[in-house]
């Protein structure tokens, strides 16, 4: 306790000094970027901020690749199963013996995978932004925020302690807030960033209470021991948490559901998703990084991280899967009607995360039944690639056209050839077309769902059809449809700097599916050989193609088919177009209930009742004193009468009454 820093360098030496430092550098380099740019960027690094940050991140990305390579191929495995390694950990805040927030690094397949994803996507976004954000007034600020975000996200994925995860979870939230509100002078951006923060904050409340419950019963905040204690059915901790119940539901379920609420908030799952579309107010590369590839999957990551515990509670898993599938379908429907391209992408993100979630929900813990877990992680991985690509592509389009609205676009394939190709690859990938990455991951998800729950499977199937429809609706609307009429001078596609990330990501989106994911990431760390059934893929692929062709039919050429169709299902279309009025509902809740029914009365009560009482005390004292002044009448004889009354009164009192 007397040491300032109590670093337990567990195993650092056994793994070689380099690993520990490398690991530490991965998050610290972006942090360094954040600090140096935040403090001195304005003065000293006005021009070179981007390069500086990018270089830092490149180093970080390289290190994480190095770590990933080492973990997966060199030292991660022990007796055929990937181990959870904690090379660094120190006590950050000791609550009581055994209960402490430790900061540390936990290496296991999912965290290593996330390391790679986060650093890679972030690097891409950094590079892309070099061109995209050039000339912005707050260029260094932008990069410093990116650095902060990357740092927090890395901290989140490497967390070894549930509270550490919570800490970085919040940091991620705030950096997202900062980045969404980057264009601070736009009221809509300000509103969006506040909304995003508050809604995720609300969800975090659940997460926090969940942590409290878990920590109370588990007696620890450390992931490994928590999982260990709460998964062995004969440990006392498990017995108490499973037997303790509130409103008929066990404490374990409560805790997990609450934790899941936190995840749902950050991952924009129904009904906490309303912040995500608005979050598109941020710069587009930010959307690619945060609201597509990394932060929004934090919820998925959280559930995956605690998956062994989740698997102890069927109810909790059920909740996860139901919310997941609802979100998937719900978002897909809305996505078909939106006209802002970034919003479409946002809803598609939500839908895809729904996929991952229900995939986790239908998963089991060990062996074959753990397919859902692997699939979710796989989809997370591939989704990060192609969704980032989509957003960056959209960014390229927006960069060109200075608008987000579909109606301003059309026929851009000639002007933006590289963007066009890469965007198409991404669309195919997300639609699950073989052999692109999305195909493999989505196939696995559907398979897992199929084995587990038919309803979910069918809804998922339909949703994947819808996915390809709206994605290609987007694609055709941007690149085909009407001819683009340039106003004034037309500048071409962004330069090489902007295109390179697109190309790199499209390569990934095209090829990542062939990674044997089950070899690396599984629920129990053991190898999972996913059986691949060709006949199973027929239905989804066919549905996907159907979606593509429908979209082509409707949007390839400018025509009135979309309008007619929209007209024909008028009310439903309207409902979907208005995002099922959820925003309005939230607005109602906050404005009418929170502000008018609680806030206002509280303020009124304070001003009038509490304060009024205090003032009344003072005033009544003055009042009494005013009323009493008659005693001091100025008449000596009156005084004398009081005097005598006093004498007689005292005498009577003490002779007869108060003896």
């Amino acid at each position: 306790m007397n040491e300032f820093l109590q670093i337990k360098l567990l195993g650092i030496f056994s793994l070689g000094m380099n690993l520990g430092w490398a690991l530490l550098m991965i998050p610290l380099l972006p942090l360094l970027g954040f600090l140096s740019l935040g403090l001195f960027g304005k003065k000293y690094l006005k021009q070179s901020a981007g390069i500086f940050a990018t270089l830092l991140l490149a180093a970080s990305a390289f290190l994480s690749l190095h770590i990933a390579y080492g973990y997966f191929f060199k030292y991660g495995k022990l007796e055929g199963a990937y181990q959870k390694i904690i090379p660094i950990q120190f006590t950050w805040l000791q609550f009581s013996p055994g209960l402490s927030i430790d900061l540390g690094i936990l290496l296991d397949p999912i965290s290593v995978m996330m390391l790679v994803v986060v650093t890679f996507i972030s690097l891409m976004v950094h590079i892309y932004s070099l061109a995209y954000m050039k000339g912005e007034e707050r260029y260094p600020t932008y990069y410093s925020f990116l650095g902060l975000f990357t740092f927090s996200m890395l901290g989140l994925v490497m967390a070894s302690n549930i509270f550490q995860l919570y800490i970085f979870w919040e940091l991620v939230g705030v950096s997202s807030f900062l980045l969404i509100g980057y264009y601070y002078d736009r009221p809509s951006a300000v509103a969006a960033c506040k909304k995003a923060f508050i809604i995720t904050r609300f969800a975090d409340l659940g997460f926090l209470i969940g942590i409290l419950i878990l920590s109370f019963y588990g007696g620890t905040l450390d992931f490994n021991s928590l999982i260990e204690k709460l998964t062995s059915t004969n440990s006392t901790e498990f017995k108490t948490i499973a037997s303790a119940s509130f409103v008929g539901i066990s404490a374990l379920t409560w805790a997990l559901v609450l934790v899941f609420i936190g995840g749902a908030g950050k991952s924009a799952l129904f009904p906490l998703h309303v912040w995500l579309p608005d979050a598109m107010e941020g710069p587009t590369p930010v959307s690619a990084l945060i609201h597509a590839a990394t932060m929004v999957v934090a919820g998925v990551f959280l559930v995956a991280r605690l998956f062994p515990v989740f698997s102890m509670s069927e109810v909790a898993l059920k909740v996860v899967s139901i919310i997941g599938i609802i979100s998937a379908l719900f978002a897909a429907v809305i996505a078909c009607t939106q006209t802002d391209i970034k919003r479409v992408l946002a809803y598609s993100t939500m839908s895809q995360i729904g996929f991952m979630m229900f995939s986790l929900g239908v998963s089991g813990q060990a062996g074959e039944s753990g397919l859902g877990f692997t699939a979710a992680m796989f989809h997370l991985f591939t989704h990060a690639l192609f969704k980032a690509l989509l957003f960056l592509g959209a960014g390229s389009v927006i960069h060109f056209i200075h608008s987000n609205e579909m109606k301003d676009m059309g026929g851009l394939r000639k002007y933006l050839p590289i963007t066009h190709i890469t965007f198409l690859i991404a669309c195919l990938a997300i639609s699950g077309m073989p052999p692109f990455a999305g195909f493999f991951s989505k196939e696995e998800i559907l398979l897992a769902a199929y084995h587990h729950n038919a309803t979910i499977y069918w809804i998922a199937l339909a949703t994947s059809g819808l996915t390809s429809f709206y994605m290609f609706r987007l694609y055709f609307s941007i690149f085909w449809n009407k001819e683009y009429i340039a106003h004034g001078e037309v500048h071409g596609e962004g330069g090489f700097v902007m295109m390179m990330p697109l190309i790199l990501l499209s390569l990934g989106a095209a090829a990542a599916g062939f990674i044997p994911f089950g070899h690396f990431v599984t629920a129990d760390g053991n190898l999972l050989e996913s059986a691949f059934h060709l006949q199973f893929s027929i239905a989804p692929v066919a549905l996907g193609l159907l979606g593509i062709f429908t979209a082509m039919w409707m949007y390839k050429k400018q025509n009135n088919r979309p309008d007619t169709i929209a007209h024909s299902m008028n009310s439903f279309y309207k409902l979907a177009y208005h995002k099922f009025y959820l925003d309005e509902l939230y607005l109602f809740v906050t404005k009418k209930i929170l502000f008018n029914l609680i806030g206002k009365p509280a303020a009124w009560f304070d001003k009038n009742v509490v304060n009024g009482l205090v003032n009344a005390t003072g005033n009544s004292t003055v009042f009494i004193s005013e009323k009493m002044k008659g005693f001091q009448s100025g008449k000596v004889q009156q005084y004398a009468i009081y005097f005598l009354a006093g004498v007689i009164g005292l005498a009577v009192l003490f002779i007869y009454i108060w003896k």
Binding site: Q637, Q638, I641, L644, V647, I648, V652
Partner: protein, 172 residues
């Protein structure tokens, strides 16, 4: 009923009745005269109790001094023959109440209390005894109070002179 009893009652009645009249009459001179009678009655009581010295002092100081002072001041401040202003009813009522309650209470306590008479031999209030003690400084001497009173009288005199012999006319 002995003569001394009769004398006592007569003196008491004189004292009390003229006392009452002194505080109720609306003619200020009469009030002063009644006060005089009452004081004389009290002096009579002292005689009756055989405290001749104090009776003499009473007559000298009160009857001869204070009353005269009062009458002079009445001359200075009062137009002759003017009736004293009436007091308001409430005040009279409350005063009567207070005085009566006080009287009843005090008298009750006095009557209920049995005074234990001392058993030591009495010292007679003769001139000799009084004179010795007045200037004595031992256990039963009263020279210190005597000095104090003299300072008080001196101070009172100076005070009276300063206040009463004001030269300038009133402004405020």
């Amino acid at each position: 009923m002995s003569g001394s009893t009769i004398i006592f009652y007569l003196l008491s009645i004189l004292t009390l009745v003229s006392g009452i009249l002194s505080v109720t009459t609306r003619k200020i001179f009469r009030a002063a005269i009644f006060l005089l009678f009452s004081l004389i009655g009290i002096a009579g009581l002292y005689f009756w109790m055989q405290y001749e010295f104090i009776a003499a002092v009473q007559i000298t100081v009160y009857v001869g001094g204070i009353t005269v002072l009062i009458i002079f001041s009445i001359f200075l401040t009062q137009q002759a023959g003017e009736l004293l202003p009436k007091q308001n009813k409430n005040r009279v009522l409350f005063a009567l109440l207070a005085a009566f309650c006080g009287f009843a209470l005090t008298l009750l306590q006095i009557i209920q209390h049995s005074f234990n008479k001392t058993l030591e031999s009495p010292i007679l209030p003769t001139m000799e005894n009084i004179g010795n003690q007045m200037l004595g400084i031992d256990e039963n001497g009263f020279s210190l109070p005597f000095e104090v009173v003299s300072i008080l009288l001196l101070a009172a005199m100076i005070g009276c002179i300063v206040i009463a012999l004001r030269s300038k006319p009133t402004t405020v």
